[in-house]
Point group: D2
């Protein structure tokens, strides 16, 4: 009787100084282990002399396991001075969601997770408000209420950090969490802390972007998902989109229309991140 | 033998403090003259207490001509403190185009005019470069070369102003004319001087927006057509649009992709203006 | 002490043969009752000689209530042979949702209702599967499981009809309900029965549109919300949208990407319908 | 003194049955010749077991010329049963344009060619009408008037074929050429004969798509650029796009709005084709 192997994929992500022979070396390495590529993306930034690559390998065709893959690949990686990692697609990332009062982004991410579209584990949701507890708990996910004292925020962030570390989070998503994240958290989760800003950055940086958009009389409003860095709203952009507005829209209409863009831009950004499609360099991203 | 009347339309544009009975009064006035409405747009800005209206009237159904219409309507207009005008759709606006070295916006406007899509006269094109002369003259349009001395710009602007006034221009379009327009011209042609800015305003105000967009790593680039005011890139926005870019695009790709957005946003803006669909109030527009 | 009146609006929707003086007559009628218009849309279909109008009236400015409004307006309506109705914006429509196994459209509508964005009552959800019961009931909405025997469907439809009538539904929404609705139900709820078709109609009529789209190699896929008529997928279209796909998308990717378009096109269609913005004539709609 | 080498690229396009080691073999081959990849795209169609690849190689880094490249690569290609070609990016394709009476697509292509955006030679334009002669000749391109006798079309097609062959055309573009191309021409130029259809295929196949779209009451109209095959409007799709319409649009408005989509979809399709980014297999395309 034939054993049917479940589909299983390793994702190998590489960036390094550009050089002749990188693709040849990497693809030969994979082929030598019997690996069949199911998806492969390359990008050469000619101006910067930098090379980016993402390979998805059918793990069932490999003669080695992931630890052996890592061990063997390391010497190749060293030769080309690669930043690299390889991830077993079966191993789900642990994603902690942070929310405030607004529900739309959180509800959207929870729905996509619940319906199996978002391939991750959500060990918990943390919020500085209680109002979304019931929605979160219906999904079978623990809800942590961590109120933030506006005169003394550090204890709340310490508490959040403790929860995040306890759950061993790979990625943190700010689903319209309206507090500014302290620098140490930004640094600790660099490239793994995703925010949604409710404007088409760099337009309308800071608070109340819809009010600013309304006052400026723009004809499109947008949203931006980006990695969080110390500089507010300045981190590397993952995804953006816009929606048309007109003189008929008051501020509330803009907020309402904007919600749909926000949740779609955030969930697309999170999906791209979870699929290891985003490579950060400096303040910019390559998105395969 | 029946005489076939050519279709002919009057366009009546009104804005005024909001009040009960404006629509009734205006539409009753039109109906009393036998006028049939072929298009009608209203907007009430509840927050500002301001009312906007654009009515297109089948002139063939009217018992009066446009002068009599104006005369009779004046007392109604006074009662409601209206800003208003009525225009005979048959009378084409005179539109002077200004260009620099780049041809895409100019070529697009000329094509649309030549093919009959843009309903206006173009008495001349003015440029501070000679390179587009042949293209303009092929269309049968006079081309004026007015070079700008960067150390003494006023004579050039005086010359341009003289040409514009001689042609009795209704509207001026800056089709990527890269010189800053002096305040007196901005004031003189307020609400009739249209620019295309090659970014999604208010992102990337000022020079080199594509370079700024590239450096910021945005995922969409855009363009904005707006009325020119003294404050550079701050005038009332008529139309905006965006196009998707990615890490694959270098600065030149952005410039190339941007050209298509620029020309489409500018020609849409000009068309809306020529059809009297844009009403300015403060720094914002109502676009019917 | 001043009494603060809650904002309250009447929505008056009219369509009739075009004639001189309709707008004047209607707006004069409204003004005579002291009514202030907060939104007003007109459309004249010149080719068909048909006129469409939607007026939103600030009810607090009216000197009469809705019954008196209806009574007084009737004679005016008769004069112009109007199809018309006026609705009190405070009175929520009762919307029954029908679903099958797929959850995305239902979840989206329930979320928008729960967050207050969709202004209606949802007296119940009916499904031919049990799997969505928990999600529906978490929202506090009764869930009716009405399985359909594929060899004898009539009893199920009778049961559904009985439930719908008992709840006195104004509107029925097929949120990916995958059964063909019998002609008598289509007739009974003409103009009040909304479906989402998972293609950009008229492309890929019938079953398995994503498979057909994949096989044809299209570069965009879409969705269409429309009123249900006896002719499958041929009813008046309310709203459509598309999303870009590529050779990288297999059928499952198309289904996944399509879900986002479906739910957004359906919720926009339902919202437009609930706000009385859709007027059906023949097989087409005017959407204000 | 250092000699500055002009940038020069070879484009290698491959499709073949999928197998382990193709990328390794090809990239190793390129690296062995010293070749630096400036762009690389792969696609594996897992369901069909077919592999697609496009590599852009910096020719200045190669130790061999294109003939030697071809010779050496042939044995590798044979091993993997590849369909393949390599093209010198410096050698411009010869593109013959066919047009009828409508000017928008032709004008757009000519403008993009004239401004240097479209990298090709246009040896001539052929039309069955005389009206576009002046526009074509202003660009310095020969214009051939080949009228089509609707009762005997073969002589016209023979004449056109003779002109096309005399100019040794690589690619033919039907810029709204409204005649049905005879099967022998379709076969002879399979994969090199590009058409623009003025609808979002497969909606509204055949004549008068805008009328059909208007009658159906769709809310978006579109255009499709595709390779021409014997089956009218059924060939492999290269590119599609849409634009929003509403009840306000009559048929003429749809035609006008559609023109902008047509020309943009056609020029994008032609550009993709000229850059060797389109690989046809069966009735579908991979577009890198």
């Amino acid at each position: 009787m034939n054993e049917v192997k479940e589909p299983r994929e390793f994702c190998l992500v590489v960036s390094c100084p550009d050089a002749v022979g990188i693709v040849a070396a990497v693809s030969q390495f994979v082929a030598q282990q019997g690996g069949s590529l199911t998806e492969s993306n390359h990008h050469t930034d000619v101006a910067e002399g930098w090379f980016y690559m993402r390979n998805v390998i059918d793990a069932n065709t490999l003669s080695i396991d992931i630890d052996e893959f890592r061990e063997k690949f390391a010497s190749l990686a060293e030769k080309f001075e690669m930043n690299w990692h390889v991830r077993d697609g079966h191993k789900k990332q642990k994603v902690v969601l942070l929310a405030s009062h607004a529900s739309h982004c959180l509800a959207d991410l929870l729905y996509r997770w619940h319906s199996g579209e978002l391939h991750c584990d959500i060990p918990c949701v943390i919020s500085n408000h209680e109002n979304l507890r019931s929605m979160v708990e219906w999904h079978g996910i623990p809800f942590h209420y961590v109120p933030v004292d506006k005169n003394n925020k550090q204890p709340a962030f310490d508490k959040m950090n403790e929860i995040i570390e306890r759950h061993n989070a790979d990625t943190i998503v700010l689903a319209r969490y309206m507090q500014i994240i302290p620098p140490n958290l930004c640094a600790q989760y660099a490239g793994r802390l995703i925010n949604i800003h409710h404007s088409f950055l760099p337009s309308f940086i800071g608070a109340n972007p819809y009010k600013k958009a309304f006052d400026r009389g723009v004809k499109l409003i947008g949203a931006t998902s980006h990695y969080v860095t110390e500089d507010l709203d300045e981190g590397p952009i993952i995804e953006q989109d816009v929606i048309r507005v007109s003189h008929k829209c008051n501020k509330d209409d803009m907020v309402r229309l904007g919600r749909d863009v926000e949740k779609s831009v955030l969930s697309r950004g999170v999906r791209l991140h979870l699929e290891d499609r985003v490579i950060v360099r400096g303040n910019k991203t390559v998105v395969f």
